[in-house]
Symmetry: C2
Subunit: 107 residues, 2 copies
DNA sequence: TCCTTACGAAAGCAATTGCTTACATTTACC
DNA sequence: GGTAAATGTAAGCAATTGCTTTCGTAAGGA
């Protein structure tokens, strides 16, 4: 349900690069910012947006905040896009949701 | 090499919907606009952007212009994203490009 | 030829984006 | 407690975005 925010997040090359950086390694806000030629607050704002899109998680460690990509978020986005590539899946999904609707609810 | 524009294009829900509409059926600008609650020129602008991202093609037919999704463009975007999901591929690509660089050029 | 249909192009506008420079806050360390 | 380090927050600003209304233009039909 976050596909809009997630695609918006991914659409920016800087944010894609950030995601690559924290994909397998936890990095502090400052360490991430060091990779770019913009100021630290700018990166901080990108990180917030990525958080809002459920694409990264944060963990506090002393005075630092360590960021790490959130695999579930990436997987979710990937699934949504798979449906987009092959919209037969999308039709199927709509049909399935219609059926679910009959006994009332998501799970 | 259009990934930035393509992702930007995809990031807008309206443009995603347009792509779905013309995915398998050629539609006129007006017919597409009829599906939305914004004015026709607004859709025209979205269509232009989609064209710039190589995601749709146009064909003139009398006074109409018929739009159709461009599978190669979608495939290209999809490939780029596959690399993004699994960045082992990306590293490989970078390595390959570095090697290509040695004898000087793209192809 | 004149009118109508189907469009894109241009200009203007409010909202959003991505950045900057302050400033505030939290934690570690002496 | 006092200071330094790491970071988010706020406010401001130029550029971009997505839309609107208005106008121009090409093609078809009477």
């Amino acid at each position: 349900m976050y596909i809009d925010r997630q695609l918006q997040a991914i659409a920016d090359p800087r944010r894609r690069e950030i995601l690559r950086l924290v994909r397998h390694t936890e990095l502090s806000s400052g360490a991430i910012a060091a990779h770019f030629d913009v100021t630290r607050p700018a990166i901080s704002q990108h990180l917030q947006l990525l958080q809002g899109a459920r694409l990264v998680t944060v963990r506090k460690d002393g005075t630092r905040r360590l960021y790490l990509a959130r695999p579930e978020g990436l997987a979710e986005l990937r699934r949504e896009l798979e449906e987009f590539w092959d919209d037969r899946l999308l039709r199927l999904k709509h049909a399935a949701e219609a059926l679910e609707g009959l006994d009332g609810g998501d799970r």
